[in-house]
């Protein structure tokens, strides 16, 4: 007769290798179906001339060669890169200042924290439409500018102003989100450090630069990494404000807008759009690595 204790151990041992996989299975399945498969599929499609309704043939690197000669690709790359340059510094610094502002526990501060966070939860379509109404040639902002004698400004008709307006919306919408991240980081900065600096005669600006910034530096790196990836992949803000054509003569088209425009519809060039997506992926990963490398260099 078998020892019951031994038999249980054997049973457990027999099932042990399977159990972790079973627990991980739902996550693996979802990742496989919605992340891995589309990713690999995009890589494969980028090497074909596949269209929406016509299965493609292997064309090697022809799509990548073509995009090097495509003016719209360079326009998209320029705009997506400018978006990173314009938006990331603002999203690293402004939410930190905002967090410092609402960090103090004074009566009514919860209202301001909620108010600053509201744009984050608002639908991007609603936000986009509101800003389009505000910045329209006959909108509120232009009426005010005209009233003070500046005259109407073509926020939605000038190529560069349009891109700047879209950046402003991205920053406005993202402030609250990154503010929350900074609030959590600021809560971990020891009060004693500030007190010691104050005793040594450091003013508020000096304390901010020598105490606060070093203490939240890793959070700033995180915010820089997150916001640069999001900025490079911008779509909604520019699409809503510049229209499906990507602004006047398509000059405000971003790379992701180009992917959407090229690869969708009944005559969509899925192969070429996939090649564009691969470029977006490579640049995004490069951006992340650049931010992390900069951080490591500063640390060392």
């Amino acid at each position: 007769m078998a020892n019951p204790a031994m038999s249980r151990v054997t049973r457990v041992r027999r099932h042990l290798p399977t159990s972790p996989w079973l627990f991980a299975a739902p996550g693996l399945l979802i990742t496989g179906v919605f992340v891995l498969y589309p990713f690999v599929s995009t890589l494969v499609n980028s090497l074909t001339d596949r269209r929406t309704l016509i299965p493609g043939h292997f064309v090697g690197l022809a799509n990548f060669r073509e995009l090097l000669h495509d003016d719209m690709f360079w326009t998209g790359l320029r705009n997506s890169s400018l978006y990173v340059v314009g938006v990331v510094p603002a999203l690293v610094i402004l939410p930190l200042l905002l967090a410092l502002l609402v960090q103090k526990n004074i009566p009514g501060i919860t209202f301001f924290r909620s108010a600053f966070y509201t744009p984050v939860v608002a639908s991007i379509v609603v936000v986009g439409l509101i800003w389009v109404w505000l910045l329209d040639e006959r909108g509120l902002v232009n009426s005010l500018l005209e009233a003070v004698g500046i005259g109407r400004v073509g926020f939605l008709s000038d190529q560069w102003l349009l891109l700047l307006s879209a950046m402003a919306v991205t920053v406005w919408k993202g402030l609250g989100y990154y503010m929350i991240i900074y609030l959590a980081a600021l809560a971990n900065v020891p009060r004693e450090l500030h007190e010691a600096a104050a005793v040594d005669g450091a003013g508020p600006v000096r304390r901010f630069l020598t105490v606060t910034v070093p203490a939240v530096r890793s959070t700033m790196v995180l915010v820089a990494a997150l916001s640069s990836v999001a900025a490079f992949k911008v779509f909604s803000e520019v699409y809503l404000m510049a229209g499906p054509s990507g602004g006047p003569a398509g000059e405000d088209t971003t790379l992701v807008m180009l992917v959407q425009r090229t690869g969708t519809g009944l005559t969509g060039r899925v192969g070429y759009a996939s090649a564009l997506s691969v470029v977006v992926f490579v640049v995004t990963v490069a951006l992340m690595l650049l931010v992390l490398r900069t951080d490591r260099r500063e640390e060392s």
Binding site: P17, T48, I54, G265, L266
Partner: protein, 430 residues
């Protein structure tokens, strides 16, 4: 059960290789092209943004069909106007295209080229004589033999104008421009009189504008675009003049149909194309505009207005070809088209229907006057949208037009570039 490394590697390899299987596969697992069998079975019917206003009408049509053909069941799906092409492409690529689908000729062309639209010359050629010849041939695709959709309703689309703004500019509100030359003269005057505050147009010229100006859109063989001829350059040069004088709205370069509709509603723009459904919108949201609304025909210098054609195609892979063909024909037959036309300002594509007293006899009302005028202009209307003109081509033309209007390129260079880009896209379509 052990999940070995080998098993894991096999699963990973399958995940990596599965997408490759999509390459080069194009097996036609379609249904029969024979529509002569018994009309029975469940079919799906997809319309394009029609449920909101015509639910009762379509339910009546479906009930009538199911009664006429016992053993059939029609499931009706309606898709919103926005993103209709994307919805069709997703369904077509995923193999879930409905059995009977509402399409326009430019949407039909890629579906037919992919072998997804049933050739009705073969499957339903006996019905051909029931329709206007131009409407039937309007669903043929250059480079392919056959006809791929039943003609459905036709429209020319009215052009609305603001009589009050015309009057303020010293223009006769009862004599709106008819030709492009008249339009350009009136628009420049309107801009001058209003100090650039009121534009006449909110949109840059489209391929249909080039067509109505008398510009040849494609070469005789239908193998390449030709709108960069001297007449096309003249049209774009004139639009540049309008843009510089603010007779064309300053935000026209990024305008969408929605944004230009809003400009017209707020009386920032004096003329805007639309549909009969817009009248209700004006009445509700801009009563002041509604009081001063003028309705006229599209601007044309060829004597022919642009005709918008709707069709109903049958999915070539339907499992119930006889039922799908019978239903597509039923929806588009003379009786049902006439009944639909009495509910909304559209016009039947069936032979002889436009001679019905409903489209010829005055009863003293403005509505009837507009309907009769539209039916009359429809008799020699032309579908100026080239069947093979894809969304990507529209964007290419629009971007080059915008460059010319901004002065970044000459109109000539802009049109040359647009034609080059459209020709390249045409070749890539195969």
């Amino acid at each position: 059960m052990h999940l070995t490394r080998r098993t894991f590697a096999a699963v990973a390899a399958a995940a990596l290789l599965l997408p490759l299987s999509a390459c080069g596969s194009g097996d036609d697992d379609g249904g029969s092209t024979d529509a002569s069998g018994k009309v029975e079975g469940d079919i799906t019917f997809q319309t394009w943004n029609l449920r909101a206003n015509f639910k009762d009408y379509f339910e009546g049509v479906i009930a009538g069909f199911e009664k006429k053909y016992p053993g059939t069941h029609v499931k009706w799906i309606d898709q919103p106007a926005e993103g209709y092409a994307d919805k069709l492409s997703a369904d077509a690529a995923g193999g879930t295209l409905p059995d009977v689908v509402n399409v326009s000729p430019d949407l039909l062309a890629p579906l037919a080229k992919a072998g997804l639209a049933l050739d009705l010359d073969k499957a339903a050629g006996k019905y051909k004589s029931e329709y206007l010849q131009g409407a039937w041939t309007g669903h043929q695709v250059p480079g392919m033999s056959g006809t791929y959709a039943f003609p459905w309703y036709l429209n020319t689309g009215p052009l609305f104008y603001n009589k009050s703004l015309f009057e303020k500019a010293g223009l006769n509100p009862d004599q709106p421009p008819k030709t492009y030359d008249e339009l350009f003269a009136d628009a420049l005057r309107m801009a001058k009189q209003s100090g650039g505050k009121v534009a006449t147009l909110a949109n840059v010229p489209t391929v249909e504008d080039f067509g109505r100006y008398g510009v040849p859109l494609m070469n005789d063989q239908g193998t390449g675009f030709a709108f960069n001829d001297p007449k096309g350059v003249r049209l774009l040069t004139k639009y540049k003049e309008l843009f510089d004088a603010k007779a064309l709205d300053t935000q026209a370069l990024t305008a969408t149909p929605e944004s230009s509709g809003k400009k017209f509603l707020t009386e920032a723009v004096a003329m805007n194309p639309g549909s009969a459904l817009d009248l209700g919108n004006f009445k509700k949201n801009a009563p002041n505009l509604y009081k001063n609304i003028g309705i006229t025909d599209q601007i044309t210098s060829t004597g022919h207005v642009n005709m918008y054609v709707m069709g109903v195609m049958v999915n070539s892979r339907t499992e119930h070809t006889p039922a799908a063909v019978a239903f597509a024909h039923y929806v588009t037959d003379a009786e049902n088209q006439m009944s639909f036309a009495k509910k909304v300002a559209i016009f039947p594509s069936t032979a002889g229907s436009l001679d019905d007293p409903y489209f010829t006899k005055e009863d003293g009302t403005d509505e009837t006057r507009v309907r009769i005028a539209a039916a009359k202009s429809l008799k020699n209307a032309v579908n100026y949208t080239p069947v093979l003109f894809s969304e990507q081509m529209k964007t290419a033309l629009r971007n080059e037009v915008a460059r010319a209007l901004q002065g970044k390129e000459s109109p000539e260079a802009a049109l040359d570039n647009a034609v080059k880009a459209c020709d390249r896209l045409l070749q890539q379509q195969g």
